[in-house]
Amino acid sequence: MHGIRSWGYFVGVPHGADHSPGEPKRTTALLAVHALQDRPGVRAVGEISLTTLIAWEQLLEKIASEPSHAFFLDLAAVSFIDVAGASALAVTAQNLGAGRRIVVGRPPFELERLMGLFWPDLPTIEMVAQ
């Protein structure tokens, strides 16, 4: 079991409600997380950058405490991940218990680029196209 209900949440505060007339509407990054129904894993939606980093790290902490051997992290709907977000994922993966790994589905360009740059041979992260 993988705590389906507890995974669903939404973080980041959309700006714009307090902006003055004529001022460009401000937007900030958002990150939503939904549990997968068919296997241990989550689907992240949005982007991983400064304003969503804490939520991303909280998600990674939960993933680290999951009992499943392979946890699926679907990033198909993540439009961007910065170097801090990629670092948090890589460090989490390095500290997983024996035999465990994170399977990253459809990683954004930046994640593949950064993994190749800084962690080219990290066996506890598996990146898959589907």
């Binding site: 401000r26 910065d82 670092s87 460090v91 680029r113």
Partner: protein
């Protein structure tokens, strides 16, 4: 036999050479002495010089780690983490020997300040390490200023087989001297002010203008997004909370620049490879890895970082 005798922990001589014969005479014995002593040896120099050393070593070249410096060290800001420490840190149990030639005749005036600051910062980066880094300088083809600066960035200079202690060694002065204000962005540069609320918009702004300049996707746009995200986020977190972003094209290169009101106190920022399991510390390092050139000007009133990306 090499004239370089390690009397201190970190040894950083410059080798002034004229022509192939002096190049081989100054480098090959240095390599052979290292191999004879059981030291790991790396040679990171431009292609023609690399082939000279390789040919002279013959079968013994198999024991040497060769690096194409114009490729790996195109951006001088990534030579310390990506070339020198990448090799030295892999052999922490013994003294390591490296030939590093970061300044060659084709380096431009735009690149040179970053090159010479890199040479100066090697001394800080490797203080206390059991490492020897020999830096060849082509006396016939480099400007007199470059050679004068080499005396300031290297405690020892080898010329005509003689080892001379530099009386003008002062790497901190070189770092400060070449902390030069950058020329204004091109007239047509796109400009945008940002705070925390505009971080996402700033990244999209940069990518959109890069597309208008003719970039049509792939690695360059992705790299630009990563670099702009890092530099703007850095301004918000460490540089006073806001900044200004510029994007423009320069020849075949795409340029992005961020200015904020912070001061960069640590000249080695972005040049220390973090431990594999360390969460932070990769932001500026990434910018150095992705950029062809990174120029920085920092003062009490603000910091400007400009990154040139290959187009």
């Amino acid at each position: 036999m090499s004239t370089v005798a390690p009397t201190e922990s970190f040894v950083h001589p410059a080798l002034f050479y004229r022509g192939h014969e002096q190049y081989v005479a100054g480098t090959v014995p240095f390599v052979l002495d290292g191999l004879a002593a059981g030291e790991p040896v790396a040679v990171a120099v431009p292609g023609p010089q690399l082939e000279l050393i390789r040919a002279e070593l013959g079968a013994r070249a198999d024991a040497v780690h060769f690096v194409d410096m114009p490729r790996a060290g195109r951006n001088p800001g990534r030579i310390i983490p990506g070339v020198l420490r990448a090799f030295a840190d892999g052999h922490r149990d013994k003294r390591v020997r490296i030939i590093g030639e970061p300044i060659w005749a084709g380096r431009t005036s735009l690149e040179y300040p970053a090159c010479v600051q890199h040479e100066a910062l090697i001394n800080t980066a490797f203080r206390g390490r059991d490492v020897t880094i020999l830096c060849p300088y082509d006396v016939d083809r480099l400007d007199a200023t470059v050679l004068t600066d080499a005396y300031a960035t290297h405690p020892v200079v080898i010329e005509n087989g003689r080892e001379l202690t530099s009386s003008t060694y002062d790497p901190d002065h070189i770092v400060a001297r070449y902390n030069e204000p950058l020329a204004a962005p091109s007239a047509g540069a796109a400009e945008m002010a940002f705070t925390l609320e505009e971080l996402v918009a700033a990244r999209h702004f940069a990518v959109r203008h890069a597309q208008e300049l003719g970039l049509d996707g792939g690695t360059q746009l992705g790299d630009l997004a990563l670099v702009v995200a890092e530099l703007t986020t850095n301004s918000v977190v460490h540089g006073g909370g806001s900044g200004t972003l510029w994007v423009w094209g320069e020849g075949r290169q795409l340029v992005c620049q961020v200015r904020d009101s912070g001061t960069m106190e640590d000249p080695l920022a972005g040049r220390r490879p973090p431990a594999r399991g360390q969460r932070g510390g990769r932001g500026l390092l990434m910018v150095h890895h992705l950029g062809d050139l990174v120029r920085v000007h920092t003062s009490k009133t603000g910091t400007t970082i400009r990154c040139y990306l290959h187009n």
